[in-house]
């Protein structure tokens, strides 16, 4: 089979966020580029969501394992801040998967991420906007904790960044 960027991206759909198993790394937006050289060496560029995310090394190894599994032995996976991740990079499909998983997707924002956006969240259970942030620090670095004043449930949001 001919190696193409699209083909590699389809394979990488298999690799999920280890802490949110419904979300692929491609939909999360941490795969920032795929290059294939003339001698079929595949280079995958990745960027961490949060700089201190303990899962990034695991994700990188998972990408390498997946490429190996599909017979792509010549590969290099590079983790860098060259194209920094932000939450707008999560795809629409990724947002839908997050919501079905019970995690509020981060609101999309235009250029400036201000306090209103950091504190804003739509309840993933009842879609109410009548919610309040309890703490910006949840069970993982990428999640914050919110309370829905309508359905009266705590919920988590994937933080806007």
């Amino acid at each position: 089979m001919e190696l193409t960027k699209e083909h590699i991206l389809t394979l990488l759909e298999e690799v999920k966020d280890p802490e949110i198993p419904v979300l692929s790394l491609v939909d999360l937006g941490v795969i920032t580029g795929v290059e294939i050289s003339e001698d079929e060496h595949v280079t995958v560029n990745m960027t961490p969501t949060f700089a201190g995310c303990p899962a990034m090394d695991y994700m990188k190894k998972d990408v390498e394992r997946t490429l190996d599994k599909h017979g792509i032995s010549k590969h290099t996976v590079i983790m860098s801040f060259d194209k920094p991740w932000d939450s707008n990079k999560i795809s629409d499909k990724g947002r839908q998967h997050l919501k079905e998983f019970g995690l509020a997707p981060p609101p999309k924002y235009n250029m400036v991420l201000d306090l209103d956006i950091l504190e804003y969240a739509t309840c993933p259970y009842c879609n109410s906007d009548n919610t309040s942030m309890r703490t910006p620090f949840g069970p993982t670095l990428c999640r914050s904790m919110h309370y829905c004043n309508d359905c009266r449930q705590m919920f988590e949001q994937f933080k806007p960044l």
């Binding site: 949060f50 700089a51 201190g52 995310c53 303990p54 801040f81 060259d82 920094p84 991740w85 932000d86 991420l113 306090l115 950091l118 504190e119 309890r134 703490t135 910006p136 620090f137 949840g138 069970p139 670095l141 914050s144 904790m145 933080k159 960044l161």
Partner: protein, 251 residues
């Protein structure tokens, strides 16, 4: 660009993050309420991740690898400000330190994201978004507690008075200061400090706390040049204890 000047800047950024990260991690299991235990633990994780990003840039400039740099130096080789090495104390002290430190750090990252030195600009661009949450957290609690009960206000005011000379030490200029400014690396410590004063004053104005008269305070300098309080060496020993048992271990 003078590589020594860049290294000096990277060391102070990285060491501040590493040391405060470790102090924050000491709240794990001891927070006054569960959410604060988690908040300080999360900020610890962020800050240690941030120090790794800066130590990695140092490694690319020929310094030892990040673990070696982080865990094999003695206190007098650290470039962190004395503010970050002080013991956690009671929660009010940790909260005040967090407020004073993170409001300065975000300004530093905002400025450095425009830096003429591209590797720093890339990392700072990334980190400033994360530190936003630390600032949001600190400012929210200062506003809430700083205008609550008499005891809370008294405790916070006393911690603010105690921490401020050390906080001013964050802005101790490096011997390469003018060089870094001239090269467009960043606008320099005086510029960071001026902006910092405005931002913390805006928050304090919403509370019953007052910023002591800065003219009457002698800043605690020395940290950027390896002069530290008695508290740093024991901290460095504790945080490097596991690494030193077997520096060649693979994790």
């Amino acid at each position: 660009m003078n590589e020594q000047a860049i290294k000096d800047l990277l060391y102070k950024l990285a060491d501040d993050q590493l040391i405060l990260g470790h102090r924050n991690s000491e709240w794990t299991g001891f927070g006054p309420i569960l959410e604060e235990d988690i908040a300080f633990s999360s900020m610890a994780q962020d800050k240690i991740g941030h120090s790794l990003a800066f130590y990695t840039l140092l490694h690319e400039l020929g310094e030892a690898d990040p673990d070696t740099v982080a865990f094999t130096r003695n206190a007098n080789q650290f470039h962190n400000s004395q503010l970050v090495e002080l013991p956690n104390g009671e929660y009010d002290f940790s909260l005040i330190r967090h407020f004073l430190y993170d409001n300065a750090e975000i300004i530093r990252f905002e400025m450095l994201s425009q830096s003429a030195y591209e590797p720093i600009a890339k990392v700072a661009m990334k980190l400033k978004g994360e530190v936003k949450y630390h600032v949001l957290h600190a400012n929210t609690w200062i506003k809430n507690l700083g205008s609550s009960t008499e005891e809370a206000v008294l405790r916070l005011q006393s911690s603010l008075n105690e921490a401020l000379p050390y906080a001013l030490g964050m802005f101790e200029v490096s011997k390469y200061e003018q060089e870094l400014i001239d090269a467009g690396v960043y606008a320099g410590e005086e510029a960071v400090k001026a902006e910092w004063l405005q931002r913390i004053q805006t928050v304090l104005d919403k509370t019953e706390l007052t910023l002591p008269d800065l003219a009457s305070i002698t800043p605690k300098f020395g940290g950027r040049y390896g002069e530290h309080t008695e508290h740093l060496q024991p901290l460095v020993e504790e945080m490097s204890e596991v690494f030193k048992i077997d520096p060649t271990a693979e994790w």
